[in-house]
Amino acid sequence: AQSVAQPEDQVNVAEGNPLTVKCTYSVSGNPYLFWYVQYPNRGLQFLLKYITGDNLVKGSYGFEAEFNKSQTSFHLKKPSALVSDSALYFCAVREEGSNYQLIWGAGTKLIIKP
């Protein structure tokens, strides 16, 4: 069965420091991986995805994510955090060849302190 884990409910980072939001997954075949962000009282916004190719994926707002097949991880990163990055972040996965339904992590609240 497909599953996604976001092991941290909340991540606190000082503004200007690098940030990492963790995601691990479990699928039988090749994974398609996604990151979405949700700002307060808004819908989810697509950040980036990994389908195939380069393990380092660049996305919106200066975010990037690194696919690591051996560790079954897809951590979200940013070199220098902004206060405006404070939001709820969701990781999602689907297995190649499956239907297009995504399996979602529980979300990680990112707080950037000035």
């Binding site: 976001q6 398609y32 996604f34 979405y36 009282n41 808004r42 819908g43 989810l44 916004q45 697509f46 995805k49 389908i51 969701f90 999602a92 689907r94 297009y100 339904q101 995504l102 979602w104 992590g105 529980a106 979300g107």
Partner: protein, 112 residues
């Protein structure tokens, strides 16, 4: 929000009453989804549609029904609302041939 609107945006209702939430899109995408969002659970798929009158169940479909009589509208109905259905409901569309889903602004439903 990718041309997706949801109505109402907020609703308070009583246990046992029927409730219908509407999702409207302006871009004629074939695939539409209804999710609920609850703390600690992320998003859970309720129902989805792959065309007019073509719908299927997601992982938490009990107590919900859907209808899609036009490409642009996807309706979610709670036949008899219960307090466990208090949640934030999101509609999403997925352009054909892509994996990326785009979300509406959500409906906050409170069942008293």
């Amino acid at each position: 929000d990718a041309g997706i609107t949801q109505s109402p945006r907020h609703k308070v209702t009583e246990t046992g009453t029927p409730v219908t939430l509407r999702c409207h899109q302006t871009e004629n995408h074939r695939y539409m989804y209804w999710y609920r969002q609850d703390p600690g659970h992320g998003l859970r798929l309720i129902h989805y549609s792959y065309g007019v009158k073509d719908t299927d169940k997601g992982e938490v479909s009990d107590g919900y029904s859907v209808s899609r009589s036009k490409t642009e509208d996807f309706l979610l109905t709670l036949e008899s609302a219960t307090s466990s259905q208090t949640s934030v409901y999101f509609c999403a569309i997925r352009p054909g041939g892509t994996d990326t889903q785009y979300f509406g602004p959500g409906t906050r439903l409170t069942v008293l």
